[in-house]
């Protein structure tokens, strides 16, 4: 196969490779601190055992699918309580349960979301208590 | 074959640039709509469907009109239509793309449009509409493109195209029947709850679609140096005549049923449509124009001497198109909502952004047609 327009094709490929590998070489050598999550809310301070609904490792990877399952459980199934793997029972509520302890959304939820570029749309409807007081 | 759309005369370039500009303007206002919400349009709590859905409803009819070329040629060997079935199929593609785009810009949450596929709801007519519209789009894209390409290569089309084209005939009927069913199955909207809604859609489709095709053929004859042939154009004109007469007859039949039975709930809608209620008569004034245009066009089309005269034919076809655009567009949609379930007489006025977005989508459709027909003409000329 003959390569027509050799100069343009190779130049184009070079530009593409530079752009595609941008995240790999742009920040080289610069230290970006991982998100600093603050867990010192008054509600968490008051807890005897500082545990979330599920273990931290599970919550870190699965809180998104947990919430997705929860929203169908409440709205579509009418099931409003969640029995965690350790047997404790929690009411299913984003504002009530999750933000009940993690009332510092900006120093907790937003830290990781901003870092990873995640933009959950939950907050267009679900209320952030500290913002409507 | 696509590259044939990229080269053309200066006039062609200016026309395409103009259309692209209109699309860009429409897109700009659509971004404003995404930001502000559908409140940027004139729609309200009482009139919850407006200009966008009106265009969708009218254009479904245009889309189905391809069948009026395909059926005589493929089922009855009417050779005069042989050259132009592709025109009908490409018009169908453009019209269906406009339909889908109008529904999309009308959604409150377009980011969730995929929910239509994730949560199939066979009891919802809208679910079936999504299926039949997209199926029809695919059918016409595949058959139109394949037949044109075979034409370019100078070979007969492959054997598998024929069954697909034959399938498009009942499928065309289905797209308007399903769209009519969106309206005709709602118990709470007396104006729409009529068994002849689907037949009315068919009749007006077979009038407005071929009327547009005639106008397009005359434009192509004048500017594109492609002649569809007098026999094809006159046969199309006769189809428009019969379909228009049927469409007018259907309206008269509706008027009889409603006004002879004297049921107030039914009378209110038709009174609003043709005469206005409590001084709200904007739709009525548009419908007067539509009615006059339809009757004048019918007269021009019925008299053979006038129908065969190109000037009168252009006038008649334009009249048919505009009349049915009014009647099957805002006339149909708005009147379904007035009076409201609480007996109010709400008003609806499309806003500037709404009109700009609408024109942007029409420009997109006209652009698609322009590109397709340019390819078609280039292929024809290459022979």
């Amino acid at each position: 196969m003959k390569l027509y327009n050799k100069k343009m094709v190779i130049a184009g490929l070079a530009v593409f490779l530079i752009a595609a590998t941008f995240p790999l070489w742009y920040g080289r050598g610069k230290a970006v601190l991982p998100p600093d999550l603050k867990l010192d809310t008054p509600a968490i301070e008051r807890l005897k055992e500082k545990r979330c609904v599920e273990p931290v490792a599970y919550m870190r990877t699965n809180h998104r699918s947990l919430l997705a399952a929860w929203r169908d459980d409440v709205v579509r199934e009418g099931k409003r309580t969640y029995t965690a793997t350790d047997g404790r029972i929690h009411p299913i509520a984003l504002t009530g349960t999750c933000l009940g302890c993690h009332s510092n959304k900006k120093q907790f939820c937003d830290r990781c979301h901003d870092y990873s570029g995640a933009k959950p749309t939950c907050w267009s409807c679900h209320i952030i208590p500290e913002e409507v007081r | 074959m696509l590259e044939k759309a990229l080269r053309g005369s200066r006039g062609y370039g200016i026309w395409v640039a103009f259309l692209l500009f209109m699309v860009a303007v429409g897109f700009f206002f659509y971004l404003r709509q995404l930001d502000y919400g559908l409140g940027i349009t004139g729609m309200s709590r009482d009139i919850s469907w407006g200009l966008y859905i009106a265009q969708f409803t009218f254009l479904v009819g245009i889309a189905a009109s391809a069948v009026m070329l395909v059926l005589p040629y493929y089922l009855h060997d009417f050779k005069a239509f042989g050259k132009i079935t592709i025109l009908g199929e490409f018009l169908a593609v453009s019209a269906v793309m406009m339909c889908v785009t109008f529904v999309f810009v009308d959604l409150g949450r377009p980011d969730r449009a995929v929910n239509l596929l994730l949560y199939p709801s066979p009891r919802s007519v809208l679910f079936w509409d999504v299926i039949v519209l997209n199926g029809y789009l695919l059918l016409n894209m595949v058959t139109g493109w394949t037949v044109l390409e075979s034409d370019r290569k100078g070979v007969p089309p492959p054997a598998w195209v024929k069954p697909l084209i034959l399938l498009s005939i009942p499928w065309a009927i289905s797209i308007h029947t399903v769209t009519a069913f969106i309206y005709a199955g709602l118990p709470g909207r007396g104006f729409w709850l009529t068994a002849i809604m689907a037949p009315r859609f068919l009749a007006s489709a077979f009038a407005s679609g071929p009327a547009l095709l005639i106008l397009i053929c005359l434009v192509l004859r004048r500017f594109g140096r492609f002649d569809a042939g007098d026999k094809a154009i006159q046969t199309l004109a006769k189809i428009v005549t019969y379909a228009l007469a049927t469409s007018i007859f259907f309206v008269l039949v509706e008027l009889f049923t409603v006004f002879y039975s004297q049921i107030p709930g039914h009378m209110h809608h038709l009174t609003y449509l043709f005469a206005g209620l409590d001084g709200h008569n904007t739709i009525a004034r548009w419908m007067t124009v539509a009615a006059i245009a339809a009757l004048v066009s019918l007269a021009l089309l019925i008299v053979p001497r006038l129908r065969q005269n190109e000037t009168y034919l252009v006038l008649a076809c334009s009249g048919v198109f505009v009349s049915l655009w009014i009647e099957k567009g805002l006339g149909l949609v708005i009147t379904g909502f007035v009076p409201s379930p609480l007996e109010a007489i709400p008003d609806y006025t499309p806003t500037g952004p709404e009109v700009a977005i609408t024109m942007g989508v029409w420009a997109l459709g006209v652009l698609i047609i322009t590109l397709f027909y340019k390819i078609f003409i280039s292929v024809r000329k290459g022979k």
Binding site: M1, R80, T83 | G39, W49, L116
Partner: protein, 263 residues
């Protein structure tokens, strides 16, 4: 023979697809559910048990309403963060007041006593037993629960407004704009909605889950609104309905509305 440009592109395309396709099944199954189990014990541990019914329904006795009262509307709209756009075009109403000529146009006539003709009748979603809105929803964002409540799933609604066209009663409202700036006092215990979805009365199903009656019913000082289980012969609304003739809006349409008016 060297491939043509078309053949080269086809090869590249299929190779790319071949690289991606094996990963698709794992992407699909990444929608894991919960580690634990869900249930319907009292929503608040130690709270009241949920109110349950086979068929929730409401009775309305408008002749009990005191003049110029809008307590039911105020309570409902406050509880559920219903915005006030101050603009009839974008208006959102879960419950409102209309006269008999508008609510029962078929039954109203010029010789009805003025007292009754001028009565404000509360109107709201009728939570029909055969709802047209549920039938037409293309995503099942609106659906009927086993206990009769017609629900809205605001997570799923695409804002097509087919349900608004289908509803014979004008019970539904669209969020044509972002409602947040137009909510007077936000109730943090209940979410708001965002622009682009349709909303309506939900028979206070979140309150029923907490063992509490709907906000409008509780707010009415004249006890004009009754609420209960139609299938329970001992319920309050059954005794109200036994008293005499009750009307439902546009019953001839077959929607089987479950809001009963006693005039």
């Amino acid at each position: 023979m060297a491939p043509t440009r078309r053949e080269f592109l086809k090869m590249t395309g299929f190779s790319a697809a071949g690289l991606v396709l094996p990963f698709l099944p794992s992407l699909a199954s990444a929608q894991a559910g919960t580690a634990g189990t869900v249930g319907s014990s009292p929503a608040v541990p130690g709270g009241l048990p949920a109110l349950k019914a086979k068929r929730w329904a409401m009775t309305i006795e408008p002749r009990k309403c005191r003049p110029d009262c809008t307590d039911c509307i105020a309570a409902c709209h406050l509880e559920h963060n219903v915005p006030d756009f101050k603009n009839p075009k974008d208006d959102i109403r879960w419950i409102s007041l209309e006269k008999i000529g508008h609510v029962f146009p078929a039954e109203a006539h010029p010789r009805i006593p003025e007292l009754i003709a001028e009565l404000p009748l509360p109107i709201l979603c009728n939570h029909c037993a055969n709802p047209t809105c549920v039938r037409v929803c293309p995503t099942q964002a609106t659906f009927k629960r086993a206990d009769g409540i017609v629900m809205m799933d605001y997570h799923r609604c695409i804002g097509c407004r087919f349900c608004m066209a289908a509803c014979p009663y004008g019970s539904r409202s669209m969020n044509y704009r972002d409602p947040r700036p137009f909510i007077g006092k936000i109730n943090p215990a209940f979410p708001t909605r965002a622009k682009g979805v349709v909303e309506k009365c939900n028979f206070c199903e979140e309150r029923l889950a907490r063992g509490v009656l709907p906000a409008c019913v509780i707010a009415c000082k004249d006890k004009a609104l009754g609420f209960g289980d139609l299938e329970d012969p001992r319920s309050g609304i059954r005794s109200i309905l036994d008293k005499g003739l009750s009307l439902r809006r546009r019953p001839e349409l077959g929607t089987l509305p479950q809001v009963y008016y006693i005039l």
